[in-house]
Symmetry: C2
Subunit: 398 residues, 2 copies
């Protein structure tokens, strides 16, 4: 039979990251590609005990749940948000299948095909896929080490009238970049002035290498959730475990209620076994101490990877040292095509994500994203050796 697919889906590029993840599953490839947390740091025993408490809590634990998500977990999240300067009651929170779904639902309820979304350049590629699936037009603003360029952002807001601004201001994916407070305040001012909503995507914000560093979320600068210009999204995937697939959005209750309507049609609700397990985990386990443990471990791994890279002394390769998150963003020599380098690297047994799919426009082909959280020690050292071989061979050839 001749199947006819929707145009916007035919055009959708499959995520390079996930396609590589698929290729490398069960393979001997050392992968710096996926945004994978370190498995040996998962609080497996605590999660197992939490799940046990769910099963003990009675048979209704396995029944259908609310579309908005398990209320006791939303109550806990409300308290966690408050501790970070964000006031949101449980009715201003929706639980989703990862923060990915929170962004998808926000896009589905707030836009019509053809609408513009203002984004950083580069930005998180799976969000670019959401926008593409929704038929939106992402328009990138210039960005530098401090964050988005406010003048360029204002020019685009005036010219293109975007429906949404999508940003990852703290330890961005792919760049690992942290916005300055001035840029955060500046963007919020702009969005207040022109009445534009911001999706502040913050899956990595708690993974900071310097415990004392403080990067206020834009949602906390807005200072209220009612009538807020910010839809804040985050996830338990990086701070607890990805398999529990639980993210959330915080926004004005009119937005949350519309997202719940769309979610009801999309999947009725996310796994309530996962949500109840997280609720039980948060009751009996010091999640903040655990976040400190993984952040310290990831900081060490980042420094380990940096030392290995410095040892290679590749000419024309540079990066900015990340202050948190999971990624190191390499700038390779001018003219080097990271996708071609990837093909060569995979033959040597190492993978990373080439930079171009992260750009909504004007892709920089000589960028590469390396994940430093998933493997360390000898495996990381061997991976960087293989990458070095590939780079050497590749540069000799071209």
């Amino acid at each position: 039979m001749d199947y006819r697919f929707a145009g916007r889906v035919e055009q959708l590029q499959s995520s390079v990251v996930r396609d590589i993840l698929k290729l490398t599953q069960g393979n001997e490839i050392i992968s710096f590609a996926g945004g994978l947390p370190a498995e040996e740091l998962f609080p497996t025993e605590a999660i197992r005990q939490a799940a046990d408490r769910v099963f003990e809590s009675g048979r209704s634990a396995l029944q259908y749940g609310l579309t908005e998500g398990y209320l006791p977990l939303r109550e806990q999240l409300s308290a966690r948000m408050a501790a970070k300067g964000m006031q949101a009651d449980p009715g201003e929170i929706i639980l989703t299948t990862g923060s990915q779904q929170a962004i998808d639902l926000a896009a589905r309820v707030l836009t019509e095909p053809g609408d513009v979304v203002l984004v950083e350049n580069p930005t998180y590629l799976a969000s670019l896929q959401i926008f593409s699936l929704a038929g939106l037009r992402p328009v990138p603003a210039q960005s530098d080490a401090e964050g988005i360029d406010l003048e360029d952002a204002e020019r685009i807001i005036r010219q293109e009238r975007p429906k949404l601004v999508y940003i990852v201001p703290t330890f961005g994916n792919p760049t690992g970049r942290v916005w300055s407070e001035q840029r955060r305040r500046g963007l919020l001012e702009l969005c207040r002035k022109y009445g534009v909503l911001i999706i502040e995507d913050d899956p990595y914000g708690e993974i900071k290498f310097d415990e004392k560093a403080h990067f206020p979320t834009i949602a906390s600068l807005e200072g209220k959730t009612q009538d807020s210009h910010v839809i804040y999204t985050s996830s338990f995937s990086k701070i607890a475990a990805p398999a529990l697939r639980t993210g959330w959005a915080v926004a004005d209750r009119r937005i949350i209620s519309m997202m719940a309507k769309a979610k009801q049609a999309s999947d009725l609700h996310s796994s309530s076994l996962d949500q109840q397990t997280l609720y039980q985990l948060l009751r009996g386990f010091d999640l903040d101490a655990h976040i400190r443990t993984i952040s310290d471990a990831y900081g060490s791994r980042m420094r380990e990877m940096q030392a290995l890279l410095l040892k290679q002394a590749w000419s024309g390769v540079s990066w900015v040292e990340p202050q948190g998150g999971m990624f190191l963003w390499l700038e390779l020599p001018d003219g080097l095509d990271a996708e071609a380098l990837l093909r060569c690297s995979v033959k040597k047994g190492v993978a990373f994500v080439p930079g171009s799919p992260f750009y909504a426009a004007e892709p920089q082909r000589n960028r590469a994203r390396l994940n430093f959280t998933h493997c360390g020690g000898e495996r990381m050292a061997a991976g960087i050796e293989r990458l070095s071989e590939a780079l050497g061979e590749f540069m000799a050839r071209t």
Copy 2:
């Protein structure tokens, strides 16, 4: 701030079923409204042991998984499908957050706004919401106790050129109806002739009261998955537990691959803790024996409800005895508005779902859907008593 929502979302009616579910949570209302399985029959201990085996299987159990879903569970499903006459290899199966998401993804990848979907009248209301969110136009064909009227379906296919046909041919929601084999074959022939895809939604098909009864799925009549005219969807929610939120679709691999692309953008993947738990459950637990147990119990409850209804001897109220599934579909006296009756009933402490939201057009206002699986015994008897009071009072008033 003035939030502007997408038109198709503003129009979306919140599901009456779920809104009632929300109102009745923690309340003293006896609810025949939700499509809830019986909690006391959940295989809680077996699921708990299965989850334990997942935690024992190693730390990578809590890592990110594949968008298509956990491969060993897809392999088990492939074997289960084969036992029911449907040949599908794991690459022709995608795991989703309930079958609801399978239908949503199929609609997202196969239609453009404005496209027509041919449906039964009445049909599953949460699917009508999916179509509404996708901007589709559902066109209902006449249906009777045997299934869809083939002449009317052909007329609509010729006139409206639908992109999809959506049906629940076995123990439909809300009617509980079972299509005859002749109608199943007839619709498949029509769809072959005109090149139209069928979504065969089958969440209830295994819950049949007569073990020996055989209702072949349309997918099994098609006899192959490659080049098939059928997208078959089902779920573990009714046969294992809803909290595990795992459904699936079986279709030609080109369709599965497009659905995976859309799913990647929507939520990366569904809970892999749930999927792995189901895999472990299927290894160590006789799911078919469990399905027999719940089907027998539900058959008894259906007969129990039927006896209670007969005892009331309401004049002008009729129904067709269901052969499986979870619902009894009441036809109330002419002119009686079931939504008004619901408001009166909720005051008496009993809830059901009024029929009109299940109709894509020409709603029959004097229909009501009663769930007979969630509560039995004294609670069911008290619920029917309250409903009787409401009906008596309501009819005296009007």
